[in-house]
């Protein structure tokens, strides 16, 4: 247990913060501490968690991706059009198309990064502009509301009325999110490929000397994020019941902030699925709590930005670092 706390400090402290916030909220608002609200939170957070676990894999491998959210928009549009061509289709064909498109867009990033040694932030900023510019150009910014019925109908997998009259619902987005989370967890902790991704992010030169296929690592990491972006995009279209080309614009930075809050490190080799999910949930819970407390929605982002800023400051500064001259043991190394 002690060793768990030591090696999972970020996850433990995030969990503690979530518990503390929840405790405050359940005392101060009537509706927060209900199962119904908890499941609502999961429903709302599903798409972001799907994006987040995808981005986590890229961060672990030492990269960064700015383009995944607009890639998800491209996938939404592409899938909607493709479904139009083949006649309505269903969840299986929809997911297959979205997944393949997503992987393709991720692979373009990996190709630039690996083949031409463009660093990931430069490569993905350029693809961000390419994807978004072309999407807006070809769609002329027009949304699609005319989606197949199966895609826009809510799928409730489980529902139950609580004694207090609220409903517990598990919807399709939650199921898909859980599958994505488990799949990512299996990939990065249980497979040799995942360990190679960690090793590559931690010490690329060391990984190279072990004969790890660097190109494969890039394609797997960015491909996985592409896959998650594709699936997340389709689920978002399902959730919103429409496809708006710039709906996800800007989402990349919110997700990045959540993932990093969850303990992933820019630069690679560090991060866990649990931390990542907790990071997204912390933000959703805060937002949800502020909402229930009757705080103006305009203030949400300000408070969340302040929380992230404080969290980053605290997590990076063990107190001794703030004071000069301490903890410089071995500074000469």
């Amino acid at each position: 247990m002690r060793s768990f706390v030591r090696t999972h400090a970020t996850e433990v402290s995030l969990f503690a913060v979530i518990v503390a916030i929840s405790a405050v909220l359940s005392v101060s608002t009537a509706n927060f501490f209900s199962l119904g609200n908890a499941f609502d939170l999961l429903n709302i957070s599903s798409v972001n968690i799907i994006f987040a676990v995808g981005l986590l894999v890229v961060l672990i491998a030492g990269g960064i991706d700015i383009s995944f959210a607009v890639a998800a928009s491209v996938v939404q549009y592409g899938t909607a059009i493709a479904l139009g061509w083949i006649g309505s289709g269903g969840w299986v064909s929809g997911l297959l198309i979205a997944a393949s498109l997503g992987i393709l867009l991720g692979a373009i990033n990996a190709f630039l990064i690996h083949r031409f040694k463009v660093i990931s932030i430069v490569a993905t900023i350029s693809t961000f502009n390419i994807y978004f510019g072309l999407l807006m150009f070809f769609t002329k910014g027009v949304s699609i509301y005319d989606l197949p019925d199966w895609l826009t109908d809510r799928v409730i997998l489980f529902e139950h009325e609580m004694p207090d009259g609220t409903w517990i619902e598990i919807t399709l987005p939650v199921l898909v999110m859980v599958i994505c989370v488990i799949a990512t967890w299996v990939l990065i902790t249980r497979t040799t490929t995942g360990r190679q991704l960690y090793a590559f992010g931690d010490n690329p030169e060391g990984a190279r000397r072990f004969g790890i296929n660097i190109g494969a690592m890039q394609f797997i990491a960015f491909g996985w994020l592409g896959l998650m972006a594709g699936i997340g995009g389709l689920i978002q279209a399902h959730y919103a019941q429409e496809v708006v080309p710039n709906a996800l614009y800007g989402r990349e930075l919110d997700v990045l902030a959540a993932v990093v809050l969850g303990g992933a490190r820019l630069g690679g080799g560090k991060g866990s699925v649990l931390g990542c999910v907790l990071g997204v949930l912390l933000i959703s819970i805060t937002q949800n709590g502020l909402n229930l407390m009757g705080v103006s929605p305009f203030a949400f982002k300000m408070i969340i930005g302040a929380i992230i800023l404080v969290a980053i400051t605290l997590s990076n500064s063990r107190i001794e670092r703030l004071l000069p001259f301490v903890n410089q043991k071995g500074a000469g190394r």
Binding site: I64, A123, I125, G133, M302, A306, I308, S317
Partner: protein
């Protein structure tokens, strides 16, 4: 002979190759494709559009040179604009005198610099990654702005501000004059001041710079403060141009400023990069969108082409390095 070539190379710098070639290519392609391209009208549209993006790019440049990034630039500009707007409104709105404008501008620049100072302090003292610090600052400022304006516009400014946005002086647009003055200021700062010198050194190796007796924390705080102040100038120009302030205005410029820096040969890891090539890169970007406009495309296509241009320049740079190595090999 070769000495002169070396001298020339050193003067222009290796960073100039990418944007220089792109400039020639853009002028050639559009010059042939559209007869109106090489005209005063193109110049005019570029001259008016360049300053906003340009000022924000200058704000982005300094942090990138230290190996960081400032993702809060657009919202810092908005908040600074908002500061000026309020000072003007508190002093009679449309009736506000030049004194109110001067006071408002000073406060706006102070507000911008303060946002930078806070980021700089966090980055310098905790060594937190600048992307994260500025990202959370961006989310905070966006929230703050939306909270204060309830998502609406603030407008109603004195008429004499119009020329700052649209006017010309001796045929040169006033925003362009402001921008060029800022470019020159940045150029002098980076090439001739101790702060600029240390900015490059920190970008290459912070610890070695500290061991050399440089107050690296002070430099980082100053860099972000100047970045924030430059955002404020952009915010003031934007206020004059649109005759209103709205949170989210210019948001789409954020990643374009990063793109412009990289296109201008700035090293993504910091330590290398010059103002003039970045300026040329900015001109290329604006020429591209004006040219595409002329042949009937819209800004969105231009955005995509900007992305392609950046990817293309990076790929060409890679190919050129490879070519250089194989060339050297053949020589020996």
């Amino acid at each position: 002979m070769s000495a002169i070539v070396e001298r020339l190379k050193a003067l222009i710098g290796p960073e100039m190759a990418g944007p220089g070639l792109a400039f020639l290519a853009v002028v050639l392609v559009f010059g042939i494709a559209s007869p109106q391209f090489l005209s005063a009208a193109t110049f005019g549209s570029v001259a008016f559009q360049l300053p906003e993006l340009g000022l924000l790019t200058l704000a982005m440049l300094l942090p990138i040179l230290t190996g960081g990034l400032n993702l809060a630039i657009t919202f810092t500009a908005n908040i600074a604009g908002l500061t000026l707007a309020w000072v003007l409104q508190a002093n009679g709105g449309v009736e506000a005198g030049p004194g109110a404008f001067a006071l408002g501008s000073v406060l706006a620049i102070l507000v911008g610099a303060t946002s930078g100072v806070i980021m700089g302090l966090v980055i310098a003292f905790t060594r937190a990654h600048p992307i994260l610090v500025s990202l959370s600052m961006m989310i905070f400022l966006r929230g703050l702005g939306e909270f204060l304006t309830r998502g609406g516009d603030v407008s109603g400014f004195p008429a004499y501000l119009g020329p700052l946005g649209h006017g010309s002086f001796l045929g040169v647009p006033i925003p362009l004059i402001v921008f060029i003055a800022c470019v020159l200021a940045w150029h002098v700062l980076l090439t001739r001041s101790k702060l600029g010198f240390n900015t490059y050194m920190i970008g290459s190796n912070l610890e070695a710079t500290r061991y050399s007796g440089i107050n690296t924390r002070k430099v980082i705080v100053l860099v972000y403060a100047l970045s924030g102040a430059m955002c404020a100038i952009a915010g003031i120009i934007m206020l004059a141009r649109f005759n209103s302030v709205r949170i989210g205005h210019g948001e789409s410029y954020l990643l374009i400023t990063v793109l412009a820096c990289f296109l201008g040969g700035v090293n993504p890891f910091g330590g290398f990069g010059r103002v003039i090539p970045v300026f040329v890169a900015l001109v290329v970007l604006q020429l591209l969108s004006s040219g595409l406009n002329l042949v009937g495309a819209n800004q969105h296509l231009a955005t995509a082409v900007w992305g392609l241009l950046l990817a293309g320049v990076m790929v060409l740079r890679f190919v050129a390095t490879k070519f250089k190595i194989s060339f050297v090999r053949k020589e020996t």
